[in-house]
Symmetry: C2
Subunit: 341 residues, 2 copies
């Protein structure tokens, strides 16, 4: 098996820097679009054969060092009692958002059996991968899940979420605790089904001040990483816009800290400390650039990571729709070529 | 005259920390809404009597230490040849966005006379202020202006802007240079009309990696601050999401660096160096919180600023619509009360 990715997660030396891309299975690929022409996102997620098939698509095409199970971070909200739909172009919509303490109380503390289809997809994807590369499981982090649950969809300024947090701190902590427990159980089940590492996506947590993060988010994320320790697999703690939060995120947990492009990799790694691995940090929009511009930026990131064991190359966020497929391939190849030890 | 603000800009000791709020004249005030019920944003901007009147509204109501002229950062784009309209709720729309080199060439290098109405508003606002507090002038920074010019409006991921930057670097630099020269002249005219300090709003520059900022933005911003030096007024360099860019922004210029809430004030100030003043950094959404929560956060910011000369209290971005007016008043009072020397 190609175990570069798992070795780097454990900060062990590797022959070259491992690379995978968030949302590497996605709309930018024709193979993916062909599946989505016939099935909704939720259908693909809930049909293990399809989810496994989509998971493998980028692995069959690009020299990536890890697969990530195809799923959506919002899946757990549905069995918890929220009505989840995806509208074309608009993203997720929750018709009965959480707006008060009573709504928090009504949320079901599911044990994860309702998401059994994700475990099944993991089992099938592992089988189809035949050990070629490791498989990553994932879940949304409590803050990011709470933001969708409260806003009822995507948000720009997270005003409703923060208002809830400031005005109803008890209900907020209750909500975060419920989400943290569901996420812990869900990730544990993914690991037991065969996920060889897991990533916690706190995609929108960068909207918070460090003080608010420490008070309203950190303890709940800590619960998750503590709860996963005995599973003994690498855990990746990811967010965007987190340049001022990275050391707090490290404190919250994770054996790998995700870094977005808004901070230099060397500064970020020095900031969180070299006793933890890092993942990142190319701007996803760079994949639209001419190849020589991509190469300059890949080189810069590798130079800043300085060949230190514990760097996993990735984007700072997911691959965007309309990203040229050939640039995804070229970037993965460049990472390997330019980081040969 | 209350000169706390100007003293703090120069890092001179003050009796208590000066405070003003970005977008302190805005939709959250009934007085403002009454004007806007009868006049569009552009009408208010272009009618010096109205612009001066709106500028004074928050000064008459709250214990603020500076006024900022009412205007819009996009005003210079109109005489440069772009069609600017504001749609209700949607924000600004530019019907003929800049998408290629030819469009950059077509942009007019205006000398600022076309924006004479802003100077007139400054003259009238200064007169109406009768020396009560200083008046700040402002302009959008080249990157932020370019992002509107290229995207044709607001953007979430700035994909079109960055693609232009990566694919047409020469045209990009030409565009940035044109904008930088227009902005320099425009700010110089504002100062000569009576603005006692100026703020450069690079509101969206935080979407860039530090490497891209250094290459595609910094030299153009540097041109502006260099060009304003002989005017001998404080210059504030503002952006959001800039935790990883602050030291580069300082290098680009400004006697005061704006800091948003996504980084602790003490870390930000130490990062840029104590040889520059700082402005910030309360999350605008905190103004929706109960008063005791606002107080805790104001206290924290003041504690982190440590009474060091050179701190101007502000939000990390503009006041949001629907912000409770009484909380704006209370916050300004709290800043003064809690920072008494």
């Amino acid at each position: 098996m190609n175990d570069r990715f798992l070795k780097a997660c454990r900060r062990e030396p590797v022959d070259c820097t491992p690379v995978w891309f968030m949302r590497q299975a996605g709309r930018y690929m024709q193979e993916y679009q062909a599946i989505r022409a016939k099935h909704s996102i939720l259908d693909v997620c809930k049909t293990p054969e399809l989810a496994a098939q989509v998971t493998l698509q980028p692995i069959d095409r690009f020299p990536l060092d890890a697969a990530i199970i195809f799923a959506d971070i919002l899946l757990p909200l549905e069995p918890m009692g929220l009505s989840l739909t995806f509208t074309e172009g608009e993203g997720p919509v929750i018709k009965n958002p959480v707006r008060d303490r009573a709504a928090v109380e009504r949320l079901k503390s599911i044990d994860g059996d309702e998401l059994r289809y994700v475990e099944e997809a993991i089992i099938q994807a592992r089988k189809a991968l035949t050990g070629k590369v490791p498989l990553i499981g994932f879940a949304g982090a409590p803050f990011t899940l709470a933001s969708y649950a409260i806003e009822g969809g995507s948000s720009r300024n997270f005003i409703t979420t923060k208002q809830f947090m400031y005005r109803e701190p008890e209900a907020w902590h209750k909500l975060m605790d419920k989400l943290a427990r569901v996420v812990t159980g869900y990730l544990r089940r993914q690991i037991r089904a065969g996920a060889q590492a897991v990533q916690l996506f706190d995609s929108w947590v960068g909207c918070l001040s460090p003080g608010d993060y420490a008070e309203y988010v950190l303890p709940h994320v800590q619960l998750i990483f503590e709860g996963l320790k005995r599973e003994n697999v690498p855990t990746i703690h990811f967010g965007t816009g987190t340049s001022g939060l990275l050391s707090l995120m490290k404190k919250a947990g994770g054996t790998v800290i995700g870094v977005d492009w808004r901070v230099h990799m060397d500064e970020a790694w020095a900031g969180v400390g070299h006793d933890v691995a890092v993942q990142g940090n190319l701007d996803p929009v760079v994949l639209f650039a001419p190849l020589h511009e991509i190469e300059r930026r890949v080189e810069d990131i590798l130079r800043r990571a300085a060949g230190r064991p514990g760097h996993i190359f990735n984007l700072g966020h997911g691959i965007l729709p309309n990203t040229p497929v050939e640039n995804v391939a070229a970037t993965a190849e460049l990472v390997h070529k330019l980081s040969q030890r």
